[in-house]
Amino acid sequence: MNQAEKTVLAETANRVRIGILDGVYNAGCGHPGGSLSIAELLTYLYFKEMKIDPADPKAADRDRFVLSKGHTAPALYATLAERGFFPVEELKTLRKIDSRLQGHPDMKGIPGVDMSTGSLGLGISAACGMALAGKTAGKDYRVYTILGDGESEEGQVWEAAMFAAHYKLDNLVAIVDWNGLQIDGTVEEVMNPTPHNLKFAAFGWNVISIDAHDFDQIEAAFAAARQVKGKPTAIIAKSVKGKGVSYMENAVQWHGAAPKEDLYRVGLADLGLSPEEIEGRFKQNG
């Protein structure tokens, strides 16, 4: 990947992060920490990796994405909006009574959402179903899913891991967002699900470990996954929860809380907005 392309992707991921903050701030609640940790992964998926068309979000042969860690919907919505599935302005309606942007992804109402998720552990299974259906129908679309590291404490994740290996779903890539934190503390303290790499390998997966914020490593991992036949690929992506917003980084309390105005302003400044741009947001917001 050349530097210019990398710069464009980084700028896009930054706008995704701004969209996450805008959404969560205006909602007054939501899950910013685990949303910010997957901004590069979603940006790469929706702007480079996946065969999708915002003008035809239900195209039969499109690649599919399932946000198995559905509580990080703000990241998915910000990415979909940035990619043109719906207006960026709509992100401010997140979680409001008259909005289609539900607290967790709703495939019936939101363009670009391929599966309704939110209850942890269910999304990876649905992604397996999509991948199996694609293989059975002789289609060459690929299926991607992002799991939380805490989510992998759900037994169903490992039922799905068995299933995907058993049916040789090499059109499936599961990414574990290894940000190390869950609601009650670090994943090691609460119910240690690591080491993910050894566990997925033991279940028969091709495993790649990367830095979740490094576009070169992300690109290399997806490219490598395409070359593997007969096995699904797990990408264990070490990330920083709350990445990009100073006070949220590696801070467990920002798993599921929204910043008030002062910290919202700090966050926007952290993401590179000028004082004028930040003021403009408040005028815009009325």
Binding site: A60, R64, V66, D106, M107, K108, D114, M115, S116, G118, S119, G121, L122, G123, S125, A126, A127, C128, G129, M130, A131, L132, A133, G134, T136, A137, G155, Q156, E159, A160, M162, F163, H166, Y167
Partner: protein, 314 residues
Amino acid sequence: MADKIATREAYGKALVALADKYPFVVLDADLAQATKTCLFAKEHPDRFFDCGIAEGNMMSVAAGIASTGTVPFVSSFAMFAAGRAFEQVRNSVAYPHLNVKIGATHAGITVGEDGATHQCCEDFALMRVIPGMTVICPADGPETYAAVEAALKWDGPVYLRFGRFAVPEVTAGEGVAPFEIGKGRLLREGTDVTIVAIGYMVHLALEAADALAAEGICAEVIDLHTLKPIDAELLVKSATKTGAVVTAEEHNIIGGLGSAVSETLAENRPVPLERVGVRDVFGRSGKVPQLLEFYGLTSAEIAKRAKAAIARKN
């Protein structure tokens, strides 16, 4: 009376018979020999996927398949399809209103010797409370075939409940209306009391009506194969005519047919109503006829309750 067949067996045969007409796939969780999806697996191995003993995963996999436009039938015992995988049915299948058809076998106490852990008498309650879920329990072989085909044509999730124990044909006679989801079938007209039955209990309701006729009581018998959406029009019409109702189901009297009919009539046409079913207890091991007797799932019990309902008129 025609040959007996268990509705699970009729289900397996229906999948085979309908396979060329509809491009569905079938999933099972290591129970294909018992659910009878093995019949389909043998004929169409490329369209059958064993998911192993992992029902939660299977249900969400089915949702993923359905999201691509292919209809999956998902089979396990009722206990595991509706019970173990309840949350996957609710969140993966029903919330997005996906075209997943759940073929749940071994429902109720006619499972027999396996006992309480496998005798699911709660699945009607679990499934009918989910928004947008259609719940069907056919009474015999022909109705099973019709229900499976109707489910294939239906847009949205469908829960189909089948039994392990053989039942006689009761819906194939002349004068019985064609099967339609959401429309109960009037099997026998009467004036004194309405027996509303579902699944295994339908043939016993007809036997009860015969016994009552010998005593000069003219019972109407409705096969309410679709628990949801419920046929309120037929229930109200019949209750208005007879003025007394008995429900009969192989399920807890809480949350199933008895509850659904009570809710419908209480709102629209209150009449004396008695419920026959499992009376809020767990099952146990035993031979099926012994169990039916033990839990009061008999034609004699239906007749007794019919008379009790009639006695409560005015």
